[in-house]
């Protein structure tokens, strides 16, 4: 519950719901130890076909085999709002704003019921895509960046954000060669970029990648070269994980 004086004295000015974007606390990374929980959060980001899921899977297997206390979570996996998202997509009712809000509602459910409680109880949480997926994709769709940053203000800041980056053509061709049926929103058809789904997908992925690139500095991404061999990339990922997170505290027998 908010403190009483904050309830009575709203901070922002006259008749405005708006906040100056600069005043909004951007989810910038904090130094280790300043987090209000003993757990750690490691996330992977990148466009489709950048190799991020494969790499996170291998990291997870390595830690699982070592007996580490961990939990794996995916973007867009909550049961709670699945029916709404499905209905909206099937009937093509979603606008950039409602598309964004539904995913935020879905994420909020996962965040409040899984991610935060697990971080508080001392788990290492691995996330395949995180809020940066929303920032990149929804900004590409036309939502205001400041609005999106505010929307996800409740999300804990990752300890490491691995950004898997492969040239657009490489990533897109990995997807298009293996999975020819692209869904309407997935291909960005709602943006009217092209009548051809594959072409629309290509353009849309390029727009998303541009947004990811912009966040590299501001959100402290660790850029991973998605064109490297899988095992070499994984070796690197493990080294960085060990270096940036005190993995020892998630080992079997250790208390949070």
């Amino acid at each position: 519950m908010k403190a009483l004086d904050e309830l009575v004295n709203p901070r922002s000015g006259e008749a405005g719901l708006e906040l100056a974007p600069a005043e909004r606390p951007a989810p910038s990374p904090r130094k280790d130890g300043q987090r209000p929980y003993p757990g750690a959060l490691v996330v992977v980001e990148g466009i489709d076909g950048s190799g991020k899921s494969t790499q996170l899977y291998l990291l997870k297997r390595w830690l699982e085999i070592g007996g580490y206390r961990l939990h794996f979570t995916e973007w867009n996996s909550s049961e709670l709002v699945k029916s709404a998202t499905k209905r909206g997509k099937q009937r093509r009712l979603l606008t950039p704003v409602t598309f964004s809000l539904l995913h935020a509602a879905d994420f909020a459910d996962r965040c409040e019921r899984q991610i935060l409680p697990l971080l508080h109880s001392g788990y290492l949480v691995l996330a395949d895509r995180y809020i940066y997926t929303a920032f990149a994709r929804d900004t590409a769709r036309g939502c205001a960046n400041a609005w999106l940053r505010n929307l996800y203000r409740f999300a804990p800041i990752p300890d490491i954000t691995f950004y898997f980056r492969a040239p657009l053509e490489v990533a897109v061709n990995r997807i298009l060669s293996g999975r020819p049926k692209l869904k309407y929103y997935e291909a960005g058809m709602d943006l009217g970029l092209s009548f051809d789904r594959a072409e629309s997908f290509r353009i849309f992925q390029g727009m998303i990648m541009e947004q990811y690139d912009r966040m590299t500095e501001t959100d402290n991404f660790v850029v991973m070269d998605g064109t490297l061999k899988v095992n070499r990339l994984q070796k690197k990922m493990r080294e960085i994980a060990e270096e940036r997170v005190d993995l020892d505290r998630f080992r079997p027998g250790k208390k949070a």
Partner: protein
Amino acid sequence: MRRNGKHSGGRAGRANGSPAGGLGRFFGTPLPGLHEEEWAGSLIVLEGSDGSGRSTQIALLTEWLESEGFAVQTMGLRRSSLVAEDIDDLLANNAVTRMTLALMYATDFYDQLEHRIVPALRSGMLVLADRYIFTLIARAVVRGIDREYLHGLYEMALRPDITFWLNVRPEVTFEREFKKSHAISYWEAGRDMSLSSDLYQSFIRYQGMVKKEFEILARRHHFVEVDGERSVAEVNGDLRAQIAARLGIRSTRFRPASARAPLWR
């Protein structure tokens, strides 16, 4: 009737343009794909707790405005085609966290705003909102969600031309609601907040907290506060007088058709 804030002078005859003097159509950033433009329609909001007489007044106002030749579109909470049913399910199961619920309500609101309200206003219709973002903000704030977070969330909402607040004491709404349905709902009594095991106490405390938040919103957004404890006809007369002044309607005389006539006694 009391007018909050400083925009208290009636600006009769203005039926279009930006709502509150000098401020934009939107509270903050416009909706994607839209920009500030002149719309012929007007947005009139009625806020007030359950049992404040809101729905009755909306029905009467619709009848009056239609008799005056205005095309009326209504909106309200949980009425979007996108997520209304899903919110009903979430509320029924009360397994939902406060943030998810707040965001589902935001989805419901923006779906109606984009698909119903904006097109209606553009085509010159009069939109009557049976509750608006203010209820959503107040409910979430009393549940501990940051006020500025919520204001940011709703910055793409349209600024109403008039926001009426039907102010009724919780003790009175309790009686009215109980008479109507012989029960008080879980959410109306704020039972998710563990305020009291006694239903009446829980209801009074919860509605009191929401009301306090409304007082803050009323100052910030210049609500027209209406004493909702008076008769239906008296309250309606006040609302008609204000709306008539805004829209340039000369006559505020009105008698409801036979179906609603009993309300007038």
